[in-house]
Assembly symmetry: C2
Homo-oligomer: 151 residues x 2
């Protein structure tokens, strides 16, 4: 992880903290094109009553409509290893690299992403883990709903 | 395809027509739980300036927050074979069956969906194809953007 990676992941973590404080799921993301932040986002299931606003998809939505060449030169930073919806979104848009804060709490898509040619770098960040541990302990039903599991 | 399947696919086609008339991408969807329509939706890239509102994801968003057991007993109807974002959303939520209007214009995820245990039934519907032929002819740049391809 480069110094820039650390800075961009920190933007995603800041989003995750905000999401937690709002009563939501503490997962955040940032989309960075050629070193410039296009957007940040966070899981807003609770805040917007949304089934599709995960951290990564909220971030990509916040970046607005972009041509293919922008995504193809971007890096997606996310505090938690992506679910298949978010992984599929990255594959749709040919985002070539995803930096993942942690994958101990949840991991589903990393092998598939790599098989599709996406570079997945896992940081194993302590604060990302701590946020998700709070989530699993204090809001387990919302977490189950967020990943399509029976509570 | 059963008589019910035809009716539910027709709801998705109605959404696709509306999307075309709005200046958008003519792809629609319906989410049906135990024979009851939870929501319909349509691609709203143009209408909402959205990168994540494909027909299927718009439909799932319109259905609101649902527990896992609802998705696991639902069928997703879509006028066009799903991209990886929409396929990944179905996999996240364990939607067991997808009925596809047509896959001649676009097909990316069907093998993967089947490998994940999703039943994919392709109808090869003439109106679904005709709508997409208009799209490719009259709005090719928007279509390229919608599937992450260079125009």
């Amino acid at each position: 992880m480069t110094h820039d990676d650390r800075q961009f992941l920190d933007l995603a973590i800041e989003q995750a903290r905000t999401g937690w404080d709002e009563g939501g799921v503490p997962i955040g993301a940032a989309l960075v094109h050629d070193g410039e932040v296009l957007a940040v986002g966070r899981n807003r299931r609770v805040q917007l009553g949304s089934a599709i606003r995960h951290g990564e998809t909220d971030c990509i939505e916040n970046a607005g409509r972009q041509p293919a060449k922008v995504y193809r030169n971007s890096v997606l930073y996310t505090t938690l290893s992506p679910c298949f919806m978010c992984a599929g979104t990255a594959v749709l848009y040919d985002i070539p690299r995803i930096v993942v804060g942690e994958n101990r709490t949840f991991q589903a898509s990393e092998d598939w992403l790599r098989s599709r040619g996406v570079q997945v770098d896992v940081v194993d960040d302590a604060e990302c883990q701590a946020l998700m541990q709070k989530m699993l302990t204090e809001r387990p039903e919302i977490w189950a709903e967020d990943i399509g599991e029976e509570a």
